[in-house]
Symmetry: C3
Subunit: 435 residues, 3 copies
Amino acid sequence: MTQQFVPALSETGTALSIACIFLVPLCGAGLALINTGLGRSRSAAHSMLAALCVIAVAALMYFACGYSWQGFAGRPAHVITVSGKAWNWIAAEPFFLRGLQLDGSPASLAALLQMLSVGLAAMIPLGSGSDRWRLSAICVSTALLAGFTYPLYAHWVWGGGWLAQVGAHYGLGRGFLDAGGGSTIQAVGGLTALAIAWIIGPRRGKYSPDGMPTAIPGHNAVLVLLGCALALVGWLGLNSAGAILFAGVAPTAVVLVGVNTVISAAVAALAAVMITRMRFGKPDASLVANGWVGGLVASSAACASVTPAAALVIGLVAGILVTVSIELFEVRLAVDDPGGAVSVHAVGGIWGVLALGFFAHFPKPVSGQWLAQLVGVATLLGFVLPLTYGLNWLLERFVPQRAPLEGERLGMDVYELGATAYPEFVTHTEEFIQR
Amino acid sequence: MTQQFVPALSETGTALSIACIFLVPLCGAGLALINTGLGRSRSAAHSMLAALCVIAVAALMYFACGYSWQGFAGRPAHVITVSGKAWNWIAAEPFFLRGLQLDGSPASLAALLQMLSVGLAAMIPLGSGSDRWRLSAICVSTALLAGFTYPLYAHWVWGGGWLAQVGAHYGLGRGFLDAGGGSTIQAVGGLTALAIAWIIGPRRGKYSPDGMPTAIPGHNAVLVLLGCALALVGWLGLNSAGAILFAGVAPTAVVLVGVNTVISAAVAALAAVMITRMRFGKPDASLVANGWVGGLVASSAACASVTPAAALVIGLVAGILVTVSIELFEVRLAVDDPGGAVSVHAVGGIWGVLALGFFAHFPKPVSGQWLAQLVGVATLLGFVLPLTYGLNWLLERFVPQRAPLEGERLGMDVYELGATAYPEFVTHTEEFIQR
Amino acid sequence: MTQQFVPALSETGTALSIACIFLVPLCGAGLALINTGLGRSRSAAHSMLAALCVIAVAALMYFACGYSWQGFAGRPAHVITVSGKAWNWIAAEPFFLRGLQLDGSPASLAALLQMLSVGLAAMIPLGSGSDRWRLSAICVSTALLAGFTYPLYAHWVWGGGWLAQVGAHYGLGRGFLDAGGGSTIQAVGGLTALAIAWIIGPRRGKYSPDGMPTAIPGHNAVLVLLGCALALVGWLGLNSAGAILFAGVAPTAVVLVGVNTVISAAVAALAAVMITRMRFGKPDASLVANGWVGGLVASSAACASVTPAAALVIGLVAGILVTVSIELFEVRLAVDDPGGAVSVHAVGGIWGVLALGFFAHFPKPVSGQWLAQLVGVATLLGFVLPLTYGLNWLLERFVPQRAPLEGERLGMDVYELGATAYPEFVTHTEEFIQR
């Protein structure tokens, strides 16, 4: 019944997976720094603390019930038979990892990886909710994402679910493929970031009465760019572990994954330099950082199945798309997303998933892979986005997600934590800093 | 004569150990950021420089003589025969690692791990000595810890010494067990932090004449929380390497170690959020950071021998204990410990060691493991604490450990380094920053 | 025709190499923080953004043509026959890695390692060009280094080129040896830093009209020292991967590499503490940081072939040399190198390469190794320095490398990026900060 490539791992494969998984929290550390640096100084401690809480809540929810709904290819799952075919729609594992031997099996490695990567997904909406999203709501929203939305979609992709099965059942290539989590982690997180931005609305003062956006610069560009460097290390681990566990790549072939990841990030960052230089006369540091991460995000899905030349194209398009998309969301769609989370993670992730359909090559050629990828993306937009929006809309009925005006004025640090991040430094007190 | 589980390592086991050991300096980087962020801006460069010096002095002292006294199970040691039993009390290896082939043997891996982890232990007292402990004293105190106190106790636990032997000799379970260094690294460091806090006394202005403590907020919460994220990566490496080398775990079983480490840190941080919210109405970022690290610390001893559910309990209790203990030391015991080092590392570490006695399960069940753990803790409190206090008390006779009032007023940066950490930023000059 | 030790790697060797290579970007993150922290706050975003661009440009240029000129021992190369001997002078691989299976072979691992380490080399000149070097020139200069200078010299050393051949052809030991890149990465980068410092000249106000240097303190010592800690982790990975791939070390023998790396950095930092304390009465945090990195740099070449005691001597000399050299360049030679890049990387790297000649011991003793090392250093000074100076001098004709006075006055952030790194913090506006 297993539809995915999951060979029994050699001891070396297990060891390399573990070493790679241990680097994954650096993705989260990087994103936390980027989100914090792109936000205001008056919300900096809140932003970092929220990131820590997100990692914690996500890991525990995934441990409690997330894994039991995600499962792993070839393990117990609920099946519906439609038109003579058995579709696997949700896993059926016991809660609290009780059914799983943590012994280095691919399933156990996948569980460890996800306990960390689900926190990465849940950290993405912090970027769009900066400077106004309340900590209690963040924790509950994370619990919903890590406990249900993420595992459900990830089961379909990585757990032997129906998106993985469209290959065997309908001949769409090898079924929906995503080695490093461009859809399951990045797009799911990015679409949740969009839902949050819609639900809580823009920051006070972001849009003038006639709808024109004001630039609110991030408070610390050094943190942002340090975050990019840490994210690279984390992503090398994430893509490699995913390639071994979810794309059946041999440990020796991880070299290709590393090369593709670096190339994609590099070209995406340089594309952002070029575009912002053409548009504004000067390169924009925060958009270049977004481009860099967008390149990492776009590299994930196809990292194990394309050539470095294809990774170059994937990164180039990602850099352009992310930069253009950020402006589109900010100016045209009036979505206030201080961290660029929607563009970087949803747009970048979806592009990476589609790109696999165009560029992937396999030992045995397949046809229709692009259609499988399209089905996966349609599921993201047509099912995951409404689901995550709906859950957060419901949450809003019970836990007000947005800080009141008073909180925004004081800053989230003083309002929610009772202390500022930098109590000894003198900061500008005027509302918007113009240079 | 070897009492510990140290199977010959496969080449894969060696490689995974190395990859994990290389992550251990991130524990130190994390602690350095936490200590620095929780201190004053006027001592920030001093705090970071002290951390670098501690890593350096500790590694060199361990290389020079520490390893020769710690040794490794099954290698040369001095033995005393008491009541017919041969007790192994200190190793007898040549100085400067001359007797050890650095060839990937478990003993050589342990030596490499310790050269880094002894620096971690020695960095812990920097947290309690913030803003007033002098660099020269820090270096000598580190030399004493890394050259004698740590190796002696670590020999007893990890070097085939008498604490490891209480199992075989008296039937106390498998002898004292500690996979990741909850006692050898954390408690030894934490108890030394207590000794230092006692010897150098509280910061000027910390306590009012009637003994009430004043809150002196840390100068940079972002550094503190970034430190937590880096510490997670470091701890994954530390616990895993320790589990392979000191608990005889197979490389494939490191998955369990990873899961337990993450769960323990996560639940401890959330426990600290809950408690500080109940106590003060709002979560306190620095106490949550302390809770997070406390969870990591508590996870170390038992990471390889308990279920994830037990790790959940261990982390939960650690989060509560650390938060309560910090207040207890500050308010009741008048111990000024700006970094919470005593509570996080001594209390958290000891709890983790005891918890192993309650929760550990082994392939072959044993009895009396809790008693072995208790003997180890009694040795920490009854022998290591007096020893480390005595050594630092003696040191105080030769090298004044505390900066004079002038130094505290100027800040350690100007007083000891002649330059500030942030010369271009405008900082508040009033003594205590109240908001 | 292969002159170097490159045994076929076991799967474990491949896996450990990959795990180590993935840590290498932390070297770059560390250097970026050090350069930024040692520069002015008004150029901080520019410094970090330049680091990101350098990593990106270098990786892409190496992918495009760098690897094709560097190649790997035993693979296609151009050969000249001189006095009856076949000298290998440049590789002949197709562009864009098209001729290389990325399958875990030593050549493919070397390519991945270099895509990251060439960025490290190219980041070194950012240290000497701080606060005045323009981003466009940085990118083109990086392209020249990563696309030509580095691959050419690295071919000679690591690609089976003539420097590696002097052993077999003339009996100079085993030919020029450099496991971790003390010459190829560090000295090539450091000599380029010298060329840049000469070409763009000192910062405005650095030297008084009578040639006396003014101290311009770095703006953030915490970033500098955090960079040191991250660099340690990166270097452990870099030296280990290099030792496996370029010195033919077994994965199990990487323990020695780790021990040597730590010892060298530790003793170099403490040497810098001692010297600055003797010279100025107080230890200097930025010089200690330079000493630490100098110790890492000096450890690279010989990390796999000397004893820990020799590593101690190498680090000690490195710490002294770097500290003295920084003053020499600043005061006597009027080279304004804010990051100490020339002394740390060129002087430290060359010392490490020579030290291999004195201290290396091999299973089969060889003679004349020191002469091979001397030939390699002579090539650096007599060929690489003029080449890199010449290329950057030519570049200066087409792309002005130095920002105009206006740019220096405003700061590179505002001048080149249109925004500052820390817009919400109040900074001193006077030109030089004196305490």
